[in-house]
Each structure stands twice: as structure tokens, then as C-alpha cells.
């Protein structure tokens, strides 16, 4: 009888995959779109490169299934592998982010970013989202990554800490500084509010 994968947890699918590789397709299906968007935001914009990188990511996930740290959520573990693979692929391909880092339809997210504490209160909610996208491209990589995970992937601080392997306190600091740097970039662009 075929198990109903819809109601199965990631961990259950993992243990079934270890016995039968075919179950791994469920993992791929669950994370394909999320990881595709994530690595694109990290800078792998070419569809073919992205497909290759994703394939490498899933192969790596498969090979390391027995090393899955059950103290983490499976999602964080998957994102950690994806992040590392995407960064090395990005460097290998020498791909520079081109055009808009953030895909269309994320205007709401960009607006959310500008509404958060500190740097953002000066901004009107009707901020020009396109300017935010461009400014984010210029933010340092270490800040950009946490900003993407926080505001585009909607990850909690704990999850970001697990994905990037940094202390939770550092996540907060990086987000704060990232937003500050983002504000400076927006200021230099003389963003109209």
C-alpha cells in the first residue's frame, strides 16, 4: 500500500528514504520550489545553473541523510546544505547578481522589511519596492543572506541560526546591521518617501 506522503513528516519520509531511495522524490517535491527561489535570491539566476545546483543540493542531501541532526528541524538542515552548495556554486560560476535580486511579486515582503523597527520607521509603507530590491543587491553578502532568510523565506531567528551556523544573537545583530546598511543604500539612492 502506498503511504500518503501528504500527511507524513519530513523525518518519516527520511527514514523511509533510507530504506527505499524512491521515497526521496517526496523530499525533492516538498523543497524544490522553496530551494529554487532561495538559491535564486542568493544570486544563481540562470535557470540552467539553478537546475544543476538544485540537483547537486538534493544529491548531497540524499548522501547525507544519515547525518541529519535530529536536534534541528529537517527544513533547517536542508536549507543549510542548500545555502552552502549555492554559495560555492555561486563562487564557482562567478555569477554576479544581475537585474533584480528579488523576483516579482515580493513587493509586500520589501514593504514589510521597511516597516520593521529602527531603520524602517522613516519609510512610508508605499516605499518604492523596486528601489529596495536594488538596494538589497548592494548590501554585503553576510547581511543580505540573513535579510533574505528572515524576510523572504520567513525563517525564525533560531532557524536562521541553524542554517547559517551562527549564534542566535549574531542573527539579530546581522539583521539589525543589514537593515541599517539597507537604509544607507536607500538614502544614497535618495529614495522618495
Amino acid at each position: 500500500m502506498q503511504p500518503d506522503s501528504q500527511h507524513m513528516s519530513d523525518e518519516e519520509i527520511v527514514s523511509m528514504t533510507i530504506r527505499d531511495a524512491a521515497f526521496f522524490s517526496h523530499i525533492v517535491l516538498r523543497y524544490e520550489d522553496k530551494l529554487s527561489r532561495y538559491i535564486m535570491r542568493l544570486g544563481i539566476r540562470n535557470a540552467e545553473d539553478r537546475q544543476d545546483t538544485l540537483q547537486e543540493i538534493f544529491i548531497k542531501i540524499y548522501k547525507n541523510l544519515n547525518g541529519f541532526d535530529t536536534s534541528l528541524s529537517f527544513s533547517s538542515w536542508v536549507y543549510r546544505i542548500a545555502h552552502n552548495e549555492a554559495i560555492s556554486a555561486y563562487r564557482k560560476l562567478s555569477v554576479r547578481p544581475e537585474g533584480h535580486l528579488i523576483d516579482e511579486g515580493n513587493e509586500r515582503v520589501a514593504r514589510e522589511m521597511t516597516m520593521e523597527e529602527g531603520a524602517e520607521k522613516e519609510f512610508d509603507v508605499r516605499v518604492n519596492a523596486q528601489e529596495v530590491y536594488r538596494a538589497l543587491e548592494e548590501v554585503e553578502e553576510k547581511y543580505r543572506t540573513v535579510l533574505i532568510l528572515r524576510f523572504f523565506e520567513h525563517k525564525e531567528y533560531e532557524e536562521i541560526s541553524d542554517i547559517l551556523k551562527i549564534p542566535t544573537g549574531s542573527v539579530g545583530t546581522l539583521i539589525h546591521r543589514g537593515k541599517k546598511q539597507l537604509k544607507e543604500k536607500l538614502d544614497t539612492k535618495q529614495l522618495h518617501v
Binding site: 502506498q2 503511504p3 524512491a22 522524490s25 525533492v28 537546475q51 538534493f58 541523510l65 544519515n66 536536534s71
Partner: protein, 309 residues
């Protein structure tokens, strides 16, 4: 890359191009998940490496503690001109460096454990150091520092144990210091026959020694003798102070203060005696004439002069 032919547990409508590619590659390359024991071994290896670093750090620290506890700074003027030069000589630099290296290694190993990233650098570094320090203190309580230092000193000619450092400081006839044991009394010459650390025989004059010093000298125990070498070839030594040689246990701060008090009393007594004899000399004899006494030589000791000024 070809697709795998059958996927018994997947829904065909759920299949995606990517999942087909991934499964095809898994089948084609006969990939299997890495064995769990490999991950466990890596994890255990990191922790074992950390434990080894901490243990060696604790050993380094316990020897440092042993040296710190045993450093006989009570008599530092006898061997060095300043406390700084004394500590520069007795500090166990090798063990300090070893402790720092082990601390760094422990930190490095700990930072490679699975959950290390959750903690800031200072916490990882401090925790590794704290384990070594606590371990070092526990080992020190059981006298492990002394055992390691002395055994290494015996077994390795190049290793400078603290006992050897101290012995080197005191076995220095040119500078008026001897380390050794009493052999016999020469009744005819009224001198003590003394065998130093190099098995050289010395005739020690004790005219300026106090009774407790003479008793200690003739006790047969290993002692340190401070004085002046009158004739190194013939082995004549004029003693100004005798001090016990203790290297079997730590000295308390109170004991160290008592040792220092006795040492200072002896040196100030020589100083006063020298002043008294100098005044007497001026009164009775012409200047620059040799003194007719056996006494007064101790007032010319470098340590006495240092303390005078």
C-alpha cells in the same frame, strides 16, 4: 542522464523533472546514503580530540601551578638582582605555551562539534580553558604537577624541571652559592667538609654563621649555602647563610614569609656587622689595610650590597 524506469512509491502526478533527474542519478551512480557510523565517528573524533586537548591543557596547568607554588622567591635577592629577573628565570614558559596551544586546540575542536555554532566565540574559548584549569587544579591537589615535572626532568636531559632550574641557580660557586650535603667535620681546621651538586669537596668556614645555620649544615640534609668562594681551586668557601632545600611539596604563603624574614634578618645582621667592623677598622688601623678577622666577608656579598642600597 536517463530517468529511472520505475518509482513505486511516488505519485506520477507529483513527479517533477528535478525529482526524476535526482532519482535517475541516484540509480545511475548507485548512490546510497553514507553510513551512520561515519557521521558518528566524525562526531566522536571531534569530542575525543577536544577531551585530549583539555587533558593536556590540564597537565600543563598543573605543572604551572606546581612551579608557582614552589617558586622560592623568598630568597630572590640571593640569586637575582630584581624580582622580575627571578620570575623571568623560573616561569615555566614551555608549559605556559603548551597550555595556550592546548586551549586553542580545545577551542578549535569544540568549534567543530555539531552545536558549537550556537555559542559565541568567547563562551567556547572560556569553557575549554575552564575545563583545563579546573582539571589542572584537581591534578595539583594530587601532586601530579610535581610528579610530571620531576619525572620529565629525570627522563629527559633537555627538559628543565623546576628542581633543575632551582638547583642550577644555587650550584654556582663563582657567585657564592652552593647546593649539597655535609660530609664530615674537619676538627683540625675547624671547617665543615661539604660535597656540592657536582661532587666537588668544599671546606666551609662557618665563623659568620649562627648556631641554627651550623646545625642545619651539619644535619646531613641537602642544603643551600650562601657565601663567598675564597679559593675555588682549593675548595675554600666562607658561609654566610644556610637554607633548607625543599622540593617535595608546596610552601605556604606563611612559610614563604617566615623564610623571607629569616633570610632578611641574616642579611641585615651581616650588613650591620660589616658597618661595625668598618668603623672599628677606621679607628684602629690605617685605611686599606687587610682586616685581621675571619668575620666581615659576608658584608661584601653582592646580595648584602644590593639590599643596602
Amino acid at each position: 542522464m536517463k530517468k529511472i524506469e520505475s518509482q513505486p512509491h511516488t505519485n506520477s502526478d507529483q513527479e517533477s523533472k528535478l525529482s526524476c533527474l535526482v532519482l535517475a542519478q541516484i540509480a545511475q551512480d548507485s548512490l546510497t546514503p553514507c553510513a551512520r557510523w561515519r557521521f558518528l565517528c566524525r562526531n566522536y573524533f571531534v569530542w575525543i580530540a577536544w577531551a585530549v586537548s583539555v587533558i593536556f591543557g590540564a597537565i600543563s596547568f598543573t605543572v604551572m601551578l606546581y612551579v608557582a607554588d614552589n617558586a622560592r622567591f623568598a630568597l630572590y635577592e640571593a640569586t637575582h638582582s630584581t624580582p622580575l629577573s627571578f620570575f623571568a628565570e623560573v616561569l615555566p614558559f614551555m608549559w605556559i605555551v603548551a597550555f595556550l596551544i592546548m586551549g586553542t586546540l580545545a577551542y578549535y575542536n569544540m568549534s567543530h562539534t555539531k552545536s558549537a555554532y550556537k555559542y559565541p566565540l568567547w563562551q567556547l574559548l572560556t569553557s575549554s580553558m575552564v575545563f583545563s584549569i579546573v582539571g589542572g587544579i584537581v591534578l595539583h591537589v594530587f601532586g601530579v604537577g610535581y610528579i610530571i615535572d620531576t619525572q620529565l626532568g629525570k627522563g629527559m636531559p633537555l627538559y628543565q624541571s623546576y628542581e633543575r632550574t632551582e638547583a642550577k641557580m644555587w650550584q654556582n660557586p663563582e657567585e657564592g652559592r652552593l647546593l649539597g650535603v655535609f660530609s664530615e667535620m674537619d676538627e683540625k681546621e675547624q671547617v665543615y667538609i661539604f660535597i656540592d651538586g657536582n661532587n666537588k669537596k668544599w671546606s666551609i668556614q662557618t665563623a659568620e654563621l649562627r648556631t641554627p645555620d651550623r646545625d642545619l649544615l651539619s644535619s646531613g640534609k641537602t642544603v643551600r649555602v650562601l657565601g663567598t668562594t675564597k679559593d675555588q681551586k682549593a675548595g675554600y668557601f666562607h658561609a654566610c647563610g644556610v637554607f633548607p632545600w625543599m622540593h617535595n611539596g608546596a610552601v605556604s604563603a606563611q612559610g614563604m614569609r617566615a623564610d623571607r624574614k629569616v633570610f632578611l634578618e641574616k642579611m641585615y645582621a651581616h650588613m650591620e656587622n660589616g658597618d661595625r667592623l668598618e668603623g672599628f677598622e677606621r679607628e684602629v688601623f690605617e685605611k686599606n689595610q687587610d682586616m685581621p678577622f675571619k668575620e666581615g666577608l659576608c658584608a661584601d656579598l653582592a646580595v648584602v650590597k644590593r639590599m643596602k642600597f
